[in-house]
Symmetry: C2
Subunit: 357 residues, 2 copies
Amino acid sequence: MPKKIAVLPGDGIGPEIVAEALKVLNFINADMSLGLNFETALVGGAAYDAFGTPLPQQTLNLCKNADAVLLGAVGGPKWEPLAHAIRPERGLLGIRSELNLFSNLRPAILYPQLVHASTLKPEVVAGLDLMIVRELTGGIYFGQPRGIHVAESGEKVGLNTEIYSESEIRRIAHSAFRIAQKRRKKLCSVDKANVLEVTELWRNVMAEVGKDYPDVQLSHMYVDNAAMQLVRAPKQFDVIVTTNMFGDVLSDIAAMLTGSIGMLPSASLDANAKGMYEPIHGSAPDIAGQGIANPLATILSVAMMLRYTFNQPEAAERIEAAVNSALDSNVRTADIYSAGTTQVSTAEMGNAVLKAL
Amino acid sequence: MPKKIAVLPGDGIGPEIVAEALKVLNFINADMSLGLNFETALVGGAAYDAFGTPLPQQTLNLCKNADAVLLGAVGGPKWEPLAHAIRPERGLLGIRSELNLFSNLRPAILYPQLVHASTLKPEVVAGLDLMIVRELTGGIYFGQPRGIHVAESGEKVGLNTEIYSESEIRRIAHSAFRIAQKRRKKLCSVDKANVLEVTELWRNVMAEVGKDYPDVQLSHMYVDNAAMQLVRAPKQFDVIVTTNMFGDVLSDIAAMLTGSIGMLPSASLDANAKGMYEPIHGSAPDIAGQGIANPLATILSVAMMLRYTFNQPEAAERIEAAVNSALDSNVRTADIYSAGTTQVSTAEMGNAVLKAL
Ligand SMILES: CC(C)[C@H](C(=O)O)[C@@H](O)C(=O)O
Ligand SMILES: CC(C)[C@H](C(=O)O)[C@@H](O)C(=O)O
């Protein structure tokens, strides 16, 4: 049976970077006879402009019937005045939630070629290789009640609810422990258990699930300290597991440690390794259409797709090795440019990876 | 009328660093005839051990009747098994809330002598001088409902509520704009307005209050991007204003940029500049009792107290200049030690500041 990939380029630089990732994926697909096929649909602001909703039913159906989703990015200032329910971000959040993609993997790897692109000192970041496991379908992103209402006093009040059940915490805990088992066997759970009861439950459930994984060393850290430790000594971490909201912030810090958020892929998985794959960075409306965005995060997201959903580790490794070779050949998009390297466009970077394959 | 300061050393390294700050304050008090007097009380774990509560009524009364509070730090692993309502942190949070200290000022200044203590490259951080204004008595820290309960399904569910009213946002907005007016006139409001309605209201009120301050340039940034920008290019910021929860995380990142969280003071003010002053760092139980903690954050908190509550800018500047001289004389506590400097104890660092006064 052919395997189906839903391709959602989205907004801003989304279409440009997805085009490069597809070049790479098409090549590997043919070369290794993987039998993947693709269908494209609109999501986010692009879908709103065409259909008045960021997540049209046909897009959601396509995703539900696909084995994997490749997404570019959504959002931009153009749609900021819209009400919450119809913003581009709701397209992305809707897919995460409807497809039950609760386990979001965000690796932060510093390529040796890019040590000097990091704003941190080489001795602090060289060799960095950590993984953030972010809970993606719960917490304050989806909790009810939510909204803005008018209080008795006549003034407006804004409200969101951070909520986690034991079972939600348990399943992301198992994901994280299993990932840690395949790595350096250290898991740091990040919470704010000293202030927020919801994360006190988080901490307790993590500790309980940890008993099933005696080979993994579990530690707990408050989120403020974790953010600080990522800047102070990031190499102390192997795998970090945390809530939806804290994961949003910590993964952007971790991404930046590697020199550019333009390098980092992500996978969002359900319980059966069906998944959505997207770069960590956003739609970067300021540089959209200029052909200067870095496609490597999206190309590396394709590698994650091949590894996690299609169980093709060899294909994944070929792509990762090709990215490495492209960097070795000294081509750089603007975000990772440094003196002595050659600055190239989005398409030229895609071609460099293709050539190295 | 004499001016009264409530002194709450708290837990861990709290008593050690407060002792040094008091040395400095006593000297300035006598030397400049400021007429300040002091009364000490227990808070946090120390208060729990003595009275079974982290915020005894007599401590709260003392704080309410004082003009300013000097706090060390609270908490430690010893008290982590306690229920939320009686944890050391509740002592601190209780004072913030009961005294209405809604405006928390957290400057992040990189001393030229410590450029090499930062994990960031000198060209990225040298000259850093930013101020985080954190809302301190609202948001998810205090929102109701909260707690852990058993759902119908039989499993536990944890819950906290992030809530802000227009008036809560408006008053912190005014604080932040006024501070920006006295600085480089740039204010960045940090939220997650694309996902959380509570921070959509935050953004709208900030924009509305901004109309009263046409001389200040207001911008808005999502929290994930702000965390990343603090690592990428922190000098782009002048004043940052944000919620209680986001401010907790961002201020620790900002602190770490300056090389050590042991350097950074804070002020928590009510509407009449009555305030609590404390270092940003915590009680550091791992090094408590060893006499190696850095007292400079607490000493600099005393300078903030003299400036904001007692309107003694000259006294504040004298202390800040003395800290600067102490650093010039090359003495360093362990956290800021680097080759070529002299490592000293907590008390020796306090003495070095005293000598420079
Ligand atoms: C675009 C936005 C809704 C999203 C999030 O907050 O999850 C993004 O920041 C991310 O991290 O994937
Ligand atoms: C100790 C803790 C309750 C406190 C907070 O979260 O506000 C601390 O981290 C801080 O930043 O002052």
